[in-house]
């Protein structure tokens, strides 16, 4: 085959473009999704949570979460009435020592509470998708990262399963997958939010206690909500830049 100079000048850039697309790997699944337009988080409205466990079951269905492991789970807190009878009672202050239960992550709900004293509330927990997340900083191989849209993800093909990140997460949101032997965690239903859907837990929540929020979207109701409510993040002293915002969070929650 004879190729003259003119053909060569056309073929070379064409080959370069083709080679570039080969190198790019998996093509973008959602072509209309631009990572830089979003900064994802979650709003959890404690007074609305009824502890039904719908979110935990939905998450397991959506993400094939193995039994006994949780990407999201619900805890029930019971802070008893406190009557100080002597000075030593301050050591057993129920405010700093609440009773917390989470049977099977709250997947099948909670036992009926008959003790009407004190106060109860449910705290759904999940990955906080921290902006300065400790889990991504300890990864020795670069297998976990904060994506440009603020979602903390795990590259399971690259992960070694060393579990440094499991130890580093102050919220206990990661686990080693029992079959894949790599780190696994909430992806904020990345396969859903990139297609314009909400997360499985938000979709399944019957009371609207969980809301997916996009902090970069000026029309997101979170901005109005933040102006009118006092929101809190878990363990603010860790300075993780957590983006799971809790409304009505009690001081006893750890």
């Amino acid at each position: 085959m004879n190729i003259n100079r003119r053909q060569m000048l056309i073929l070379l850039p064409a080959a370069a473009v083709a080679w570039k697309s080969v190198l790019a790997g998996t093509p973008e699944v959602s072509p209309n999704y631009h990572m830089t337009d979003h900064w994802w988080g979650m709003l959890i409205d404690i007074p609305k949570c009824i502890g039904c466990g719908n979110c935990v079951r939905a998450c397991q269905t959506e993400n094939d979460v193995p039994d006994g492991f949780f990407r999201t789970w619900v805890e029930r807190y019971h802070v008893d009435d406190w009557e100080m009878k002597n000075p030593q009672d301050i050591l057993v202050n129920p405010m700093t020592d609440p009773t917390v239960i989470s049977p099977d992550g709250g997947k099948e709900g909670f036992p009926v509470a008959t003790d009407t004293s004190g106060k109860y509330f449910f705290v759904p927990k999940m990955c906080n998708h921290c902006a300065d997340s400790p889990c991504t900083q300890v990864c020795p191989v670069g297998a976990t990262f904060v994506a440009p849209d603020g979602v903390v993800l795990v590259d399971q093909k690259y992960c070694l399963g060393c579990a440094y990140c499991v130890q580093a997460c102050p919220y206990g949101c990661r686990y080693i997958h029992p079959e894949k032997h790599v780190a696994d965690k909430c992806t904020l239903c990345y396969h859903r939010i990139t297609k314009g859907l909400t997360t499985a837990c938000c979709e399944a929540c019957p009371t609207g206690a969980r809301q997916l929020v996009d902090l970069k979207n000026p029309k997101d109701p979170i901005h109005e909500f933040m102006k009118t409510h006092s929101l809190q993040v878990l363990k603010p002293q860790m300075a993780t830049g957590a983006k799971a915002f809790y409304n009505g969070l009690d001081g006893s929650v750890r």
């Binding site: 790019a24 939905a58 509470a113 109860y120 994506a147 440009p148 690259y158 859903r192 019957p206």
Partner: protein
């Protein structure tokens, strides 16, 4: 030239270094994933791989595209803000089937389903409607009296087959 007269061994050594560096570059080219470092110290292609996970919950917009009659009914009742799949479970298989009627969703058992949210417990928010199922309905399925899509007794017209609510159920509801 006399400066380099006895420097041959240095050039050979420098050559070895250059060769080793070239080998390092070649090996690195094949070992490091192509998209590593595109956005940061990770493989950018992983983002697309994670986004490719199949969807199981179709989302209420998808449901309402076909089931607009049920959506209308629901929008007027107490359950207006409860999404379809909160009760009916993940239905993407049904919604994405070429012929959705071939993948028939299982109708939830209201005896279990309603109790998950509405069983009375001191732990639940006080303003959330809750009953003790045994006292309230005597083990009868909830949809004997309530229509799940519009559960309030006065708002819903019970099915012809449904029994009129007996007094105990009404009282229990009034007491709560």
């Amino acid at each position: 030239m006399s400066v380099f007269k006895d420097a041959g061994h240095l050039f050979r050594f420098a050559g070895l270094f250059v060769l080793a560096f070239l080998i390092f570059l070649v090996v690195r080219h094949f070992v490091v994933p192509k998209t590593f470092g595109q956005y940061g110290h990770y493989r950018a292609a992983a983002i697309g791989e994670i986004a490719a996970h199949p969807v199981r919950f179709a989302g209420h917009d998808t449901c309402e595209a076909c089931h607009s009659d049920e959506a209308d009914k629901k929008s007027k009742g107490k359950h207006a803000h409860v999404n379809c799949e909160a009760c009916h479970g993940a239905q993407a298989k049904h919604a994405n089937a070429d012929d959705p009627s071939t993948v028939k969703p299982v109708l939830p058992d209201t005896t279990i389903l309603c109790a998950r949210c509405h069983t009375a417990s001191a732990a639940k928010p006080k303003d959330f409607p809750q009953v003790v199922p045994a006292d309230h309905s005597n083990g009868m399925p909830c949809d004997t009296c309530h229509q799940p899509h519009s559960p309030a007794m006065d708002a819903a017209t019970p099915d012809a087959t449904a029994k009129a609510p007996d007094k105990t159920a009404k009282q229990a509801r009034g007491a709560k």
